[in-house]
Amino acid sequence: MALLGLMTLATGGSLSSCVSVAAYQKMYLNDEDMKLANKRIETYETNFESYREGAGGANGGKVGGGCGCN
């Protein structure tokens, strides 16, 4: 829980200090490797992790339903 609290504080701090970035300034952010999501090819890894681990979710992978997994 302490880690979660720290993460929330850090995120809150970041949000309050973020700047407005114009579209023409987003050449770095639009890079393929800057996407805020898993790559399509990671599908299978997130799936097997959800089967082999008791924890899952919040990352785009399986989290419940659709299989006999946890």
């Binding site: 399509r40 299978y44 924890a55 006999g68």
Partner: protein, 438 residues
């Protein structure tokens, strides 16, 4: 869900103080919300769920209005010595081959159809121990799945709504799901909020270890034939540009499951009765479970050569599992079109209160499991991927569809090695071939 779907756009246009309060409120509410993935992929990673394309990013001019086709394949292999079918002491050897096709078809400038079709062919030495006869029928199976989605950008294209439906089927398990999503980007494209909900209706055929079937028939167990499971998932993602080189997304996913949550062919042996044949019981778990994961993802454009991608997830559920997961990836652009990306993942979790190893449960307990997926362990994953995506593609060829020319756009290869402190080791090789067609 409807209330969440109608969240006003004004979250992004409020005065600074109110906006900060709104953000703080969103962060506080985050664990109570859950599941929209601001992912550029047409569906959730597992293929199910609604399309949730992110409008905040400009359309890729190289494939605007083109049909995208991705052909994916993976080979997975694991081995260990804590198979749940034999009460936590058997083999865990398993292989899985998973061909998949993902289609993303633009219907017009605002709407898209997506489809995710595939199968798993798996061979499991563990499930072959459900009976005492090692045989082909119980040692391998196929799972087929198909998921479809429709998404539409509303006026101004800052808001996208989507719906989806799908099913999967294997020998003893079928599942149907429906989903809906909503995503809204701020006018400057620096923030996005997305919400999605999904419901699964699953049905399982109860297959128990052979030596336990006679007792169940004799006692008239009402759950002897089939059983059901319902899963309700709600996902929320808030993404935010922090600087010209840094952006983040915070996501949460609330899950509630009702119905059959145990696996009927998992044996549990008790310390009072020992490990002789016929002394086991089938795994017993509560018929409801609540999961509360929350994730933070950061991407940082360090230099033109190297970028950094990080992910942290905190997880908790009412089975007693608390987990932390860290991931880091460092894509290295060897050339503008050739990227190598090493990655590392660390996962640690506490044991479920219903788990105990072989012969450590007591017969007096109400719930029991010797499934090591629910045990306390740590896991490390390390691997390397490469992506080759030349600007004009790798090749072009004529298709049977009115002779249209398709482009073999990119190639992605990846290998991961995974090791748990329980002794389980696994390896997975994946490939993603990406095509576009006008």
């Amino acid at each position: 869900m409807k209330k969440l779907l109608t969240m006003p756009r004004s979250l992004f246009t409020l005065p600074t103080t109110a906006r900060r309060s709104g953000v703080a409120l969103a962060l506080l509410l985050a664990p109570a919300l859950a599941w929209a993935q601001a992912t550029p992929t047409p569906n959730r990673l597992d293929g199910s769920g609604p399309p949730t394309n992110n409008t905040a990013r400009p359309a890729n001019p190289s494939n605007h209005g083109e049909t995208e086709v991705n052909i994916l394949m993976s080979y997975y292999e694991q081995d260990g010595s804590h198979g749940a079918v034999e009460g936590g002491v058997g083999t865990q050897f398993l292989t899985d081959v998973t061909p998949t096709i993902i289609l993303n078809i633009p219907l017009d400038s605002a709407s898209r159809l997506s489809a995710n079709l595939g199968m798993d062919h798996y061979a499991s030495a563990s499930t072959d121990r459900i009976d005492q006869v090692l045989s082909t029928p119980s040692s391998n199976d196929q799972r087929y799945h198909a998921d479809f989605g429709y998404s539409r950008a509303l006026k101004g294209k800052q808001t996208i709504i989507g719906v989806g439906a799908g099913f999967s089927a294997e020998y003893d398990y079928t599942s149907v799901n429906v989903s809906a999503s909503w995503a809204h980007a701020s006018a400057d494209g620096n923030r996005e909020l997305s919400l999605a909900g999904q419901v699964y209706f699953d049905q399982a055929t109860l297959i128990r270890p052979t030596e336990l079937r006679r007792d169940i028939q004799k006692n008239g167990d009402p759950d002897a034939g089939n059983n059901t499971r319902q899963s309700y998932n709600l996902n929320i993602v808030y993404s935010q540009v922090l600087s010209q080189r840094l952006q983040m997304a915070i996501s949460t996913e609330l899950v509630t499951q009702q119905g059959l949550l145990s696996t009927p062919f998992h044996r549990v042996y008790f310390r009072e009765t020992g490990g002789a044949l016929g002394q086991a019981q089938t795994e017993a778990l509560p018929r409801a479970r609540y999961k509360y994961p929350i994730g933070l993802r950061l991407t940082y454009y360090t230099t033109d050569l190297v970028q950094l991608r990080g992910f942290y997830r905190f997880y908790n559920d009412d089975f007693g599992i608390t987990a932390h997961t860290f991931e880091i990836e460092a894509p290295v652009k060897v050339t503008p079109f050739f990227v190598l990306y090493p990655f590392y993942r660390y996962h640690t979790q506490t044991a479920s209160k219903y788990f105990a190893p072989y012969l450590e449960h007591s017969i007096t307990e109400k719930y029991y499991s010797s499934d090591y997926d629910l045990s306390a362990f740590s896991a490390n994953k390390v691997g390397l991927g490469l992506r080759y995506s030349p600007v004009y593609g790798l090749a072009r060829f004529k298709t049977p569809f009115k002779g249209r020319v398709a482009k073999f756009k990119s190639l992605d290869l990846r290998y991961a090695y995974y090791r748990q402190s329980t002794g389980l080791v696994a390896g997975l090789a994946s490939i993603d071939l990406s095509f576009t067609m006008p």
